[in-house]
Amino acid sequence: MLALWWFALQSPMLFALEGAESVALRLLSSPGSKEPVELDPSGDWNFRVPVEDTQRETNPASGKGGAPTKFRAIEFTIPRSDVVLFTFSVPVFWAIVLGAPLGKSSARALLWGTAVVAVVEVFSLLTLVEITAYAVVAQLHPSADGLAAWARDVGDKIVVGVIPFAAPVLVAVALHRDLRSQIFPESHPAIINADDALPGTAQGIQVQRPALDRNPDRDPRGRSR
């Protein structure tokens, strides 16, 4: 599936991601503003993110602060090779679901899971774009908060290093009932409510039943007749 993605699916998925990302960024920006995502001839993605910030430039000759400059948007480029990562989770999800035993829930899990993973990818890229924009803003203010820089660093690591790889696995387990029942055996006490289980069957807690009374004259509740 990874080979199929790498050689055939990458371009159409990037096209779909560009459309979805453009819609998501338009929702964040003011109406009538420029196109938030544009591809340059090399395939790299140029983002335009609305940011409200003011920077007072220092005159190098006099050492005094000049007139404040107001920023309304920041433009930056993310290489195509980095954006490709945000099309990676869907084929991994497909590989997990198609590799699991095919059951009634497979088709539904495949459809819903694809939608969920695709939405996660769009929001992950959106988060990365916002983190990058705020990192650029922070560079304009050298005295910026160290904790904020650390939080951006952690956010960046999670969005780039964890979510694209963990999301397909977690979504597959959450949505694919057959796969979930294979991983979590239904008879685990934590999974099944004891009231739902039939005593003495393979499902549910193995409820301790009183030993069979061989005396037929004995009342099941223990009283002698």
């Binding site: 690591k157 963990a166 979590f184 006490p189």
Partner: protein
Amino acid sequence: MLMTPWLKPAVTGFDRGLVRTAAILIHLFRGHAIPQGTVLRDPSSGLAVEMKDGCNGVNVTVLLCAALLAFPASWSLKAKGLLIGVVAIQFVNFLRFISLYYLLQYSQAWFDFAHAYLWESLIMLDALAVFWLWVHLVFRSTAITHVEA
């Protein structure tokens, strides 16, 4: 938490240990590699791979440990799962690091693909497989306990 400034030296020390161990393993199999801090360098071509955050398997180990600790099981089973899980992930990560080292000598494009996508997914699936096996172990021991009771 692993990215906090006071834990960073410990993580870097761990990375250095992994690189040194990888170099020893490569030497055992008559290969050539020079460890330089968190960098493993090929003496003939000069090409090198660096063990950075996210390359040391710690992310996946933390995820697996969180899943094992959150699952209802006895502490002895959790301890077994943590031990086996950490060893399994670090073993696969060693294979990953050494294979990437050799793959880089062969092709930069294949290195990029394997580094960014293939091995990352395999390590995540390794964690899922370990968790899967461990849950079955928990289930089996719980069933035995109930039968014995």
